[in-house]
């Protein structure tokens, strides 16, 4: 495979033909902010955080879906890009109910991390305070639409890694939302394999393991009995 040489932020770089600008930058240790990108699934260029400037191209290009080209000059950081990235993040925080203080992902949230990295210390736009629900019908997982940023990582891992095709997007515009099967409660989904890849993929607290939020702890004492019975009586049975 042919190699391409290009510069990113003035740094000369070689990258494999077909590689994305994001991959090339990553290899060179240049960090471009991303949100909808997730290693292992295909890119959709939706969050617009990875937009970069390319000399000779009037439009800003998403690093995640733009392929490297010979002689390309890429700028990943400029006053303009920083401004746009911060606005993008402010728009996200204003769009749904991201109440960090009471979120399961507080401190482990990519949206927070991105906000800090762009120096976002407040949101200048009016919060929309939409009414969204929380789906806790699934035995293992929960979906809090208030925290969702619609990155569709969950949809992509569900379709293209697990192959279950449970998650999808419904609605248009700011009423877009993640659904399970044909917009049914998650717990009633036939197609969900309960693999939990969506929870792993989620950048925020929108998808979470049940039992991790305040007051949710449930103990399964039967497990102890099972082990003791198995050890003492050599019987691998459960009480019920």
């Amino acid at each position: 495979m042919a190699a391409k040489t290009l510069t990113i932020d003035g740094k000369p770089i070689t990258a494999e033909e077909g590689a994305t600008v994001l991959q090339a930058a990553d290899e060179a240790g240049i960090k471009i902010p991303t949100l909808c990108h997730l290693d292992g699934v295909y890119d959709v260029g939706a969050c617009r955080l990875c937009l970069v400037e390319v000399t000779g191209v009037a439009k800003l290009l998403p690093a995640c879906t733009t392929r490297v080209a010979e002689g390309m000059e890429v700028k990943t950081d400029s006053e303009r890009l920083r401004k746009y990235r911060r606005i993008t993040l402010e728009l996200l925080f204003a769009e749904r109910n991201h109440v960090c203080a009471v979120c399961v992902a507080n401190g482990h949230c990519e949206l927070q991390t991105l906000a800090y990295s762009q120096g976002m210390d407040h949101v200048r736009y009016e919060y929309l305070f939409p009414k969204w629900g929380v789906d806790t019908t699934h035995r293992l997982f929960g979906m809090d639409h208030n925290r969702c940023v619609l990155c569709t990582r969950c949809v992509r891992v569900c379709w293209h890694v697990e192959g279950a095709g449970t998650k999808n997007v419904a609605g248009r515009g700011t009423r877009s939302h993640i659904i399970t099967d044909l917009a049914m409660p998650w717990g009633e989904s036939d197609s969900c394999t309960q693999c939990g890849k969506c929870v792993q993929a989620c950048p925020t607290g929108a998808l979470f393991h049940k039992g991790s939020t305040t007051g949710e702890m449930e103990r399964d004492r039967g497990k102890l009995e099972f082990i003791v019975t198995a050890r003492e009586k050599k019987q691998w049975v459960t009480a019920d």
């Binding site: 260029g45 939706a46 937009l51 997007v169 248009r172």
Partner: protein, 550 residues
């Protein structure tokens, strides 16, 4: 089907012509005022008055003067032409008896009115003339001759060459050179290629494509077939929005008729060329007019755009090279092939060739569809053809390009209507919607209207468009409610810039245009609504450094 058969159909059709033809417009506009009953009554009345031998009552497509509808045109064999306007079903007896010199007080229009006289009809030449549900009618006016010519006399590359030479540019809005697009698809590697016709017309106040599809469906099919031959495709899709049921049903009829006559399907004109067309009906999303979203929708996926490149010409439907053109673009093809590229290029300006169909609506005396040569001054359209604003009001602005376009103020009415001139004024040619506003119009409300449209129609995929349009809409609303300050206006302008430059597809990239153009020409209307910033930064302007060191 061979050329002789085609000519035979045309001759037979012409021979059957009667002395008088009553052309009854049965497009969506007139249909909504009961044109179907008018046609039925006229038929019955011709029979009742014993005039069947000399009078034909013909269902025709749109005549264009929609504001005066329902319309009935009369063609006499001596070349005389009459026009009845605002026709009601009960007018049928009077209209028919007037043909024998009887009294008739049905409102008469002037077929030589500037609204008609200033037009140059290429795309709409058959509109209001032929029966859109009769392929024979279309063949009688020379239909499918261009397809025959292309298939038997021209190589595919020569067809592309002809389109390139004609200077035709995409009529969907962006104005990309059509020949260049065709050439790219033709040269793209792949055994399977597709041709797609974009009939997802959705701009508020735009109904050009609907009219073409309803009035002359075969013209579009013929254009698609020629395109398919030129680029090497054998399958076409006509993507039409579900809100156009009449267009869909007429296309279905047209496809069936063309298949029956062997003008679609395998071995067209006994050449190896195969071309089939299927209709795909949109489900109501405006963004599906964006080509990558349209393709996703055709494939049965959620209609959302994807980043380009790859462009459809290289990787389109199911990854195959795909040619996507708008309805009006395809409707230009057969006339170009039939009359030659030079003929077509003789209309219009240096960079914008041919004609353009516009839907002239809003605060304008004469509402309807017009086809004019490119480069015509806007003033001629709105004042001479459109008759200016009604009720003695002044025209304040003309909105072109729908939610992606802008508002051209009255002081720029002498601007020639071509791609470059409109872009220079911060608007766009767009697909052909032209909404006239008079001096009672509040331009901030107009900006909010279009922003609301974009906000509702955003697909939700990329953040700037999905969430940015909501914030811009809310800021415009705040300004209109007299609750905003200069800081809010600055915020609005900053968001316009951001959404324009960072959105994924054309919808978001152009959503700020109506706001930006009204800000450019009518800024005072915004500023008049602003409130003093009582609780703004202390002192004037920027927040001061906290020089509070002890």
């Amino acid at each position: 089907m061979q050329l002789d058969d085609l000519n035979a159909i045309a001759e037979k059709e012409k021979a059957a012509a009667k002395k008088i033809c009553l052309r009854t417009c049965m497009s969506a506009g007139c249909m909504s005022s009961r044109a179907d009953v008018i046609k039925k009554n006229l038929d019955a009345e011709v029979k009742a008055q014993g005039m069947e031998a000399e009078v034909e009552v013909r269902r025709v497509g749109c005549m264009g003067f929609c504001g005066q509808g329902p319309l009935v045109g009369v063609d006499h064999d001596d070349g005389r032409e009459e026009l009845f306007e605002f026709v009601k079903p009960e007018d049928a007896p009077a209209i028919v008896s007037s043909l024998k010199g009887g009294p008739c007080d049905v409102h008469r229009g002037d077929p030589k009115h500037p609204f008609f006289a200033k037009q140059v009809k290429i795309v709409r030449a058959n509109g209001g003339i032929v029966d859109p549900e009769s392929i024979e009618d279309y063949i009688a006016v020379g239909g499918y001759q261009a397809l025959h010519q292309a298939l038997t006399e021209l190589k595919p590359a020569e067809v592309v060459e002809a389109i390139t030479k004609s200077g035709l540019r995409g009529r969907g809005g962006a104005g990309y050179p059509t020949g260049l697009k065709w050439g790219t698809v033709a040269k793209s590697a792949g055994n399977k290629k597709y041709v797609v016709c974009n009939g997802d017309e959705g701009d508020p106040g735009a109904f050009m494509d609907r009219s073409v599809l309803e009035s002359d469906p075969h013209l579009v099919l013929e254009g698609m077939a020629i395109a398919a031959y030129a680029v090497g495709a054998d399958q076409g899709f006509l993507y039409v929005r579900a809100e156009y049921p009449l267009a869909i049903s007429r296309l279905q009829i047209a496809i069936k008729q063309a298949k029956q006559l062997g003008l679609l399907g395998g071995g067209i004109f006994e050449t190896p060329f195969i071309f089939n067309v299927d209709i795909r009906i949109g489900a109501g999303a405006f963004v599906c007019g964006e080509e990558t979203a349209l393709m996703a929708s055709v494939e049965g996926k959620r209609g959302t755009p994807r980043p380009r490149p790859p462009f459809p010409a290289e990787s389109g439907l199911w990854g195959c090279p795909t040619l996507i053109n708008n309805v009006e673009t395809f409707a230009n093809i057969a006339p170009i092939i039939a009359n030659g590229a030079e003929w077509y290029a003789s209309f219009g300006t240096e960079k914008s060739k041919g004609t353009k169909v516009f839907a002239l609506t809003g605060k304008i005396t004469n509402n309807g569809l017009i086809e004019v040569p490119m480069g015509i001054p806007l003033r001629q359209i709105v004042e001479e053809m459109g008759g200016g604003a009604p009720d003695g009001r002044q025209i304040k602005s003309v909105q072109t390009g729908g939610p992606s376009g802008g508002c051209i103020p009255a002081q720029h009415l002498d601007t020639p209507v071509d791609y470059e001139s409109l872009t220079k004024l911060g608007s766009i040619m767009g697909s052909g919607g032209m909404v006239v506003m008079d001096d009672t119009t509040n331009m901030v409300e107009i900006a909010k209207f279009y922003m609301e449209f974009c906000m509702d129609e955003s697909c939700g995929k990329c953040i700037p468009c999905r969430a940015g349009t909501v914030q811009m809409h809310n800021l415009l609303d705040k300004i209109l409610k007299r609750k905003a300050t200069a800081r809010d206006l600055a915020k609005l302008e900053e968001l316009c810039d951001m959404v324009k430059n960072t959105s994924l597809c054309g919808l978001g990239q152009t959503a700020p245009n109506p706001t930006l153009s009204t800000l450019r020409f009518f800024r005072n209307e915004y500023e008049q609504l602003l409130q003093p910033d009582k609780f703004g930064p202390r002192g004037n302007g920027e927040p001061k450094k906290a020089s509070v060191a002890a």
